[in-house]
């Protein structure tokens, strides 16, 4: 019988301690007329941090709204404006919050942007969603047009032309940021930010490495909270400080053999996003003796940055993001995780409004089984719209899957 999860100290109260402060700072900046930018997922945010521009992540805000159980109401608000129910639930959620919501929004809503920066790197959705926001707020939008990583290579196996096209647009980005803020772009400041971001990335990677230990010392719920810094403000001292503290705690646990559950029977990889509105699902898995020991998501946002080659480094960090890559990249990542983390099952949750996180999972499932004999569960869910799948149904699928793994 698996015992209840032992909580990590570092991530306890993560929302209250870090996320709330993040949004308060953004609102304060807005009130003080300092520049606030909306940033799309996989945008090289280090460039904004280097110019002291306050980045706001609508995507993160959507996950906050889901965790606070109001994402579906906000989605419905957007749907009433004519935005299809089949669109990305993150985008519907944020659009809904923009069109006027009768109740109080978490953290006072998102501060309106002075300008927006988007990229096609994660998906078309971000471009289109930000175009809508740009029109609503009458704020300019910059697009970083990113080629698709067709061959699915990692940061050391990218097409030369792709890196050049990416890096060449960063010059235009700096000019745009200068125009928007009236500040001068400083390459040395960018180099400093990249050094910090690189350190953040190393710490995060080190934290992940301890999760290879049996029993696993850190659960997915902690990882999906803590990855916030890696995702949203990697080039900040706060990120370094937090990850140092977390690293020490996880390392200590791994050393002394403290696991998420005492009787660890199933070690799982989790692809794509969690159900933000139901992070308790991980505890349900724990209760069945299963631990998500690693997530593809936790290995998507890292990347080494060389301050002596700032533009090329940024291209190499972001271009091979799995959302921007052929399925081969996702397969390579998952195969490595299965091997390195002693995994015996793979969870491939689809995301209803997201094509990038849905098409291709059958190829992943087949490849992982063929190469390593490990089974996968493809499950129809959505990260923020709980109308897509009933909880009882989801739980039953997991329970059945774990039964299959026993055989």
């Amino acid at each position: 019988m698996a015992l209840p999860q032992k909580k990590l100290k570092s991530t306890t109260g993560f929302y209250r301690n870090y996320i709330q402060g993040f949004y308060q700072r953004a609102h304060r900046a807005k009130a003080e007329k300092r520049p606030v930018a909306w940033v799309a997922s996989t945008f090289p945010v280090e460039t904004l941090q280097a110019m002291d521009i306050v980045p706001v992540w609508p995507e993160n805000y959507a996950s906050v709204c889901a965790a606070r159980q109001i994402s579906v109401e906000l989605c419905e608000r957007a749907e009433r404006e004519g935005f299809s129910r089949d669109l990305c639930s993150y985008s519907r959620c944020v659009l809904g919050s923009m069109f006027g919501y009768e109740k109080e929004l978490p953290e006072g809503g998102l501060p309106p942007p002075d300008f927006l920066v988007a990229t096609t790197c994660a998906c078309d959705t971000h471009l289109k969603w930000f175009q809508v926001a740009s029109r609503v707020y009458k704020a300019p939008l910059f697009l970083l047009d990113v080629p698709y990583n067709t061959r699915g290579g990692d940061s050391t196996h990218l097409d030369k032309e792709h890196i050049e096209f990416y890096a060449s647009q960063l010059g235009e980005l700096f000019a745009f940021l200068e125009t928007q803020t009236g500040r001068k772009f400083d390459m040395d400041k960018l180099r400093e930010t990249l050094a910090v971001s690189d350190w953040t990335s190393r710490l995060w990677t080190e934290i992940q490495s301890y999760r290879r230990t049996v029993p696993c010392p850190m659960d997915a719920r902690d990882a999906f909270s803590a990855v916030f810094f890696m995702l949203c403000i990697p080039g900040s001292q706060q990120a370094v400080d937090f990850y140092t503290q977390l690293r020490d705690e996880v390392r200590e646990r791994a050393k002394s053999g403290v696991g998420v559950v005492e009787d660890e029977r199933f070690r799982l990889v989790w692809d794509n996003l969690p159900l933000w509105y139901n992070l308790k699902i991980f505890e349900y898995l724990n209760s069945l003796g299963a631990v998500v020991v690693t997530e593809v998501f936790s290995h998507t946002w890292t990347g080494s940055l060389d301050p002596s080659k700032p533009l090329e480094s940024l291209a190499r960090k972001y271009l091979p993001n799995m959302a921007n890559s052929s399925t081969r990249r996702r397969i390579d990542i998952i195969l490595n995780l299965v091997k390195d983390f002693h995994v015996n099952g793979v969870v491939l949750p689809l995301n209803w409004g997201c094509r990038m996180m849905s098409i291709g999972e059958t190829i992943v499932r087949d490849a992982v089984y063929k190469k390593l004999g490990v089974q996968s569960l493809i499950i129809d869910v959505d990260s923020s719209d709980w109308r897509i799948a009933r909880e009882a149904q989801v739980k039953e699928r997991f329970a059945t899957f774990l039964e299959t793994l026993k055989r």
């Binding site: 935005f83 299809s84 047009d145 792709h162 647009q169 689809l350 209803w352 990038m356 849905s358």
Partner: protein, 344 residues
């Protein structure tokens, strides 16, 4: 050689001596593809892939996909992994038309040309590229001439007739098609069996690879006189115009043409639609958003508002390529046409 997106530089394929054919789906269920592609994937992509699994495209020597939307990028992996087409290729299409994007796309087209030459052991000469441009431009100009005959009241040809003419261009040898179009143009201008006027409609959307919905519209008293489909006006609206190196001119045309919704220049498409609405004196608009096309789903509410601001009644419809909700669509279209027709 099969292609799926109108951002594929067809001229280069033609110059290689190959026949470019647009890959379509069928109207039935997609049981074969459903085993591989989830229910929330683009129903056009799923349907085309289903056709490939069924063997409809076993005659293809090669399949070329472009990076024009998330669905395409990922569906390409499906073709590579599960279809029987011997050669596959992926062209990286930028989503903007800045000078840097043009330079990148030009290099992509050069790579594509080299790949064609190597794969089919067939050198592509400058003169064959020039000839391809001429033939394609002639086709575009002829289609435009015929299209413009719908401006007349009543239009000289029906929406369905035009759509089928345009669709035939997507799968036929262009030279032959040009000859047919030239003859047809003469005939249409002299035709006595002019179609019924009907309610003059503009339609907007992405791909329309069959005429079922158009026929449905006509059966209830409407007539499509103008369209914003990638398999309609956006296919032939722009010519290859710039002088100089053929490949550069060809590449330029694609990024600068009336944009699809995945491109950054959204306002240009909206202007094109507004312009069509005025020139073709439309009385109402129907937006056909194919499930699950993200880029059109985001644009649709904005375009709907713009058209309404022009005083046009607008009907927004989402449709499955398999036509699984055909009866429901019929009811809504019928009610809409009746409503608009009654206002007259």
């Amino acid at each position: 050689m099969g292609w799926t997106c109108t951002y594929t530089p067809e001229e280069v394929i033609y110059a290689a001596g190959a026949l470019p054919v647009m890959v379509w789906g069928g109207l039935g269920d997609t049981k074969l593809a459903d085993a591989y592609m989830p229910g929330n994937s683009c129903s056009f992509a799923r349907s085309s892939f289903n056709a490939a699994l069924r063997g409809d495209y076993n005659y293809l020597d090669a399949f070329v996909e472009t990076n024009s939307c998330d669905n395409r990028g990922k569906t390409y992996d499906m073709w590579v992994n599960y279809s029987k087409v011997p050669h596959t290729y992926f062209i990286n299409t930028p989503h903007s038309n800045t000078e840097k994007a043009h330079e990148f796309f030009y290099r992509e087209v050069v790579k594509f040309k080299k790949w064609l030459e190597n794969t089919f052991k067939q050198p592509i000469s400058d003169s064959s590229l020039k000839e391809a441009v001429e033939v394609y431009n002639e086709n575009r100009a002829l289609l435009r001439k015929i299209y413009d005959l719908k401006m007349k009241k009543p239009p000289l040809l029906s929406g369905t007739e035009f759509l089928e003419i345009c669709l035939s261009s997507l799968v036929m040898p262009k030279k032959e098609h040009n000859e047919l179009l030239t003859k047809l143009l003469n005939e249409i201008e002299r035709r006595s069996d002019v179609p019924k006027q009907g309610v003059r409609l503009l339609v907007a959307g992405s791909v329309m690879d069959n005429s079922e919905l158009s026929k449905l519209i006509e059966s209830v008293g409407g007539n499509i006189v103008a369209d914003d489909w990638c398999t309609g006006s956006r296919y032939f609206w722009n010519l290859v115009t710039s002088d100089g190196e053929s490949l550069r001119a060809i590449a330029r045309r694609y990024l600068d043409k009336v944009p699809s919704s995945f491109m950054f220049q959204r306002e240009e498409r909206f202007r094109h639609v507004a312009e069509l609405a005025k020139q073709f004196k439309v009385e109402a608009a129907i937006m056909f958003v194919i499930k699950y096309c993200d880029t059109h789903m985001f644009d649709a509410p904005l375009l709907r508002d713009e058209l309404k601001a022009m005083g046009l009644p607008v009907l927004y419809l989402e449709w499955e390529h398999s036509m699984s909700g055909f009866a429901g669509l019929k009811t809504r279209i019928e009610a809409f046409i009746e409503m608009v027709g009654g206002v007259k």
